[in-house]
């Protein structure tokens, strides 16, 4: 079972490499470090949102408010910076806001027991409305240079934000593997009742997943403000669907329990590459969404086919084993059929 999702990530990674190779063959300037790095920078927000979303999807939930949380956190960051709050404090505040917004969703889903899509759908309206109320509907401009300087800083030509994002993804992956409590996300999503019977704190785990989703939206907000330099009212609009699509593409299963930050990373990169690729292929950019949608459908369909084939083979093997054992041992013995 644990082999399958890993192979899915590998398949998508392979597809991604092939895609980059093919586009590069057609238009060699695609391979230039400059364009690859700029694509990486573009994908950061999507990767972070998808990673946050991953925690929620692991617990078999869904969070459609990530875009709105990012927008509201970005507004708070912009307002704080314009009010003269020091950069580090403003960033901490933004992360805190993201975390609290997510935690509100978490409490609603885990403790009030509102179905996730409804809770986060309601929250989407509330957060987006609050964003407009806080700013009076106008864009936040004239944001101090400090955060843009941070965005412009580079180590070996790679921006600090990109390094930070990759480190975050790496760290999250490690923590999810090493910490026992972090495995709870998987247990709860795979089998909620089973996890409860084993004494795993199911509800707190779910609540934490949503809070983490908010926290990651907060990080994405910091990067957004740094990269763009102002906060338009559309900040994060529709990003929730992109984040879910990226995660699913990378191998996060919406039925819960399957996925890793690496899935989010690969999926996020993939969607960004598709979007940038058309420019390099000189195809008009308005085909972006159609191609992204078609690829998403094809990938999940292939995944379905593979899963069915693997399951069939496993069943066949089990049937064979069962036939042999029942032939060897007395007929009164019937092996337990699992699942």
């Amino acid at each position: 079972m644990s082999k399958l999702p890993q192979s899915r990530e590998a398949v998508v990674l392979l597809l991604l490499v092939a895609l980059i190779a093919v586009i590069g063959l057609i238009n060699p300037s695609f391979w230039e470090p400059k364009s690859l790095l700029s694509m990486l920078n573009t994908s950061l927000i999507l990767i972070l949102l998808a990673t946050g979303e991953m925690f929620v999807i692991l617990t078999r939930g869904i969070d459609v408010s990530v875009g709105a949380m990012m927008g509201l956190a970005a507004v708070v960051l912009g307002l704080a910076l314009n009010a003269g709050v020091p950069l580090w404090l403003a960033i901490v505040l933004t992360l805190l806001v993201g975390f609290v917004l997510g935690a509100i969703n978490g409490v609603g889903v885990a403790f009030v027991r509102i179905p996730p899509i409804i809770m986060t759908l309601g929250a989407l309206g509330v957060y987006r409305g609050m964003m407009l109320i806080l700013t009076g509907g106008s864009w936040i401009e004239t944001i101090p240079q400090s955060i843009k300087t941070l965005a412009g800083m580079k180590v070996f030509e790679v921006s600090v934000f990109a390094i930070a994002t990759l480190l975050i993804v790496l760290l999250t992956t490690l923590l999810l593997r090493r910490i026992r409590q972090a495995r709870y996300f998987y247990y709860v999503g795979d089998n909620e009742d089973g996890a409860f019977m084993l004494g795993i704190p199911v509800r707190p785990t779910q609540a934490v997943a949503y809070a983490l989703s908010g926290l990651f939206a907060g990080v994405a907000a910091v990067i957004f403000v740094g990269q763009i330099g102002f906060v338009p009212m559309q900040t994060g609009y529709g990003q929730e669907l992109n984040a879910i699509a990226a995660g699913v593409l990378g191998g996060i299963n919406l039925s819960g329990g399957v996925g890793s930050p690496v899935s989010a990373l690969i999926g996020g990169l993939f969607l960004t590459v598709i979007n940038s690729a058309l420019v390099f292929l000189k195809v008009p950019a308005f085909w972006n969404n159609a191609i992204a949608g078609a690829i998403l459908l094809i990938v999940v369909l292939i995944d379905f086919r593979v899963r069915v084939a693997v399951e069939m083979r496993q069943r066949q093997q089990r049937a064979n084993v069962r036939r042999e054992t029942s032939a060897a041992i007395q007929p009164s013995f019937t092996p337990e059929e699992s699942r």
């Binding site: 027991r113 179905p115 309601g122 409305g129 919406l254 008009p284």
Partner: protein
Amino acid sequence: MKLFKPWLRWEFFLVVLLGVEMAVFGFINPRFLNVENLLYSSSDFAHIMLAALPLTLVIITGGIDISIAAVMGLASIVLGVTWQAGVDVYTALAVALAVGVLAGILNGLLVANTDINPLVITLGTLFLFSGLATAIAGSLGAAGYEGISGLPREFTRLAHGSVGPVPYTLIFVLVLVLLYSILLHKTRFGRSLYLIGANKDAARFSGVPVKQSIVTAYALSSFGGAMAGAMLTAYFTSARSDLGSDALLPTITAVVLGGASILGGSGTIVGSFLAVLILGYLKQGLLALGVTSDVSQVVTGLLLITVVALKYWAADLNQLRRNRRALRTRTNLEGGVLPENQAST
């Protein structure tokens, strides 16, 4: 848990909610209760009704269709493009609706023949359809704000005309409410949708044509999206690929508020219809009070969360009460001795 007492039905609660809403707005601003005005302003959310009614069918089967918003834009641009190519506007309308049905059949086939989460499939088709719409518009140079305008009056009149004070669209929606209600509550197809939502395997084993029903439900849902797209085109008198892109969340909100369980197995057409009225007039009422649409977004979100939370709490309490009663009955039957190992059940 069939409730025969009418005051315990969700629709009754919705009617009360709608009444309270009207009373509150009417109390603050008596001009709000102008019947002509109320009827007229229903055109502002008629497209939500057109989409929400058939979406109810999909949600009853335990699925979801988030591609309807994209179908609105696709139908709109297809209508515009076909008309621009020199075809009669009603033929263009038929083509647009047919495209909607085809889109729905694609969704339905993918959902019915795989175990992939319907959210993932319709997310994929959402991107696909909206991408196609943008691509069609872009290729023909109609991507701008204007879109394809200059549609004949006989067509735009469909969204603007009225019989007395009652707009055509409202009459049309009411007819649809009746038709969908009959379809859902009085036919075999409708009953099988509930069974599929409650337990898909049980439905299949009891001979319900599961795949066929699911494909039909998604086709109807997309057809509703296409009608909404056509209606928006007539309402704004221009065909644009991004029409209806804001309609997704209000539509789902309405269906859920209307009493359909997002997990499948319950929901009614009348409930969804009432919920659209509640949400639509809430926005209108707040606007009339000078509250901006930003704040009304917050109010709508809070309303959705609160109402659903209350509903689940009520159901939980009810369950708890029935469990206690069952336990009491059993302990009485067994001579007042509570079996140790069953005390927790």
